[in-house]
Point group: C2
Chain length 160, copies 2
């Protein structure tokens, strides 16, 4: 049981947005190029972050993505819930009903099990909520990604 890779990607994206100077929106193509994924895929990730209120998007010529709130107000729980879609770790199938059918008398309390897993999961989420990205990432500088990417392209030319 592991997180989707989207969780890590999202954290990287949020870090990129936080590093960007002057609240200047980042174009999706710039981010997707930096992450090495297709632009349309990147946009799907961004969409989830927008829907969950972590990122704001501006259409139009000077548009792009910006942080919707400071990193200090974005918790690990926000990120995980933004990316991970499954409601709960525990998934209940009809297996117990099939196995413990007659002539046994009823299924051994499967509801309790599900509840117990959910209790533990709540503890997990509560902990994740304690950590915000500001304290974890400790970003202490600003950059202009547009410039960085341009320089990157230039040195590629020089090498090739």
């Amino acid at each position: 049981m592991r997180f989707k890779s989207g969780v890590e990607q999202a954290i990287c994206i949020l870090a990129m947005l936080a590093l960007q100077a002057n609240e200047k929106p980042l174009r999706s193509s710039l981010i997707s190029e930096r992450l090495g994924v297709s632009d349309s895929y990147l946009k799907k990730i961004m969409r989830q972050l927008v829907v969950h209120g972590l990122v704001s998007s501006d259409s139009g010529r000077e548009g792009g993505f910006r942080l919707a709130k400071p990193l200090s107000q974005i918790t690990l729980l926000d990120v995980v819930e933004g990316i991970e879609t499954d409601e709960h770790f525990a998934n209940v199938t009809r297996l117990p009903a099939r196995i413990f059918t007659d002539p046994d008398r009823g299924i051994p309390r499967q509801a309790n099990i599900v509840d117990a897993f959910n209790v533990a999961e709540s503890a997990y989420r509560a902990q994740l909520q304690q950590f915000n990205l500001h304290q974890l990432l400790m970003i202490d500088r600003q950059v202009d990604w547009e410039t960085i990417m341009m320089n990157g392209r230039k040195s590629e030319h020089a090498n090739g």
Copy 2:
């Protein structure tokens, strides 16, 4: 992010073993038949439970599987750790290193993030450890699975 189906299967198997009267070992073929999976697959699940000390196995003519300890001493954490092999939910790739390479100065504290996830995960495990299968399953009877399966086969014949 969901549990493997093996977690649910394992709980059902443990319930079957706990229901079995007189500590009489359950043959693997009986369990696999009841679960509706191949015998060799069932044995792989059993193997994990044996290795993790939840179940004991006896070879030989009168052999089979039994609980290694009472349900009250088996926690949800035991089951999850027996089945789920991944060490941690968070998986770290080389993505941050690729994205935040020069001309930025270093990667924004990814170690902190991993640690934070692990802290939360510890809280999760601690909670799971609070629940034992005795209190959750509330099994208050004993059966003989051999007999149950035989009757099942008889009534199938009657129906078909």
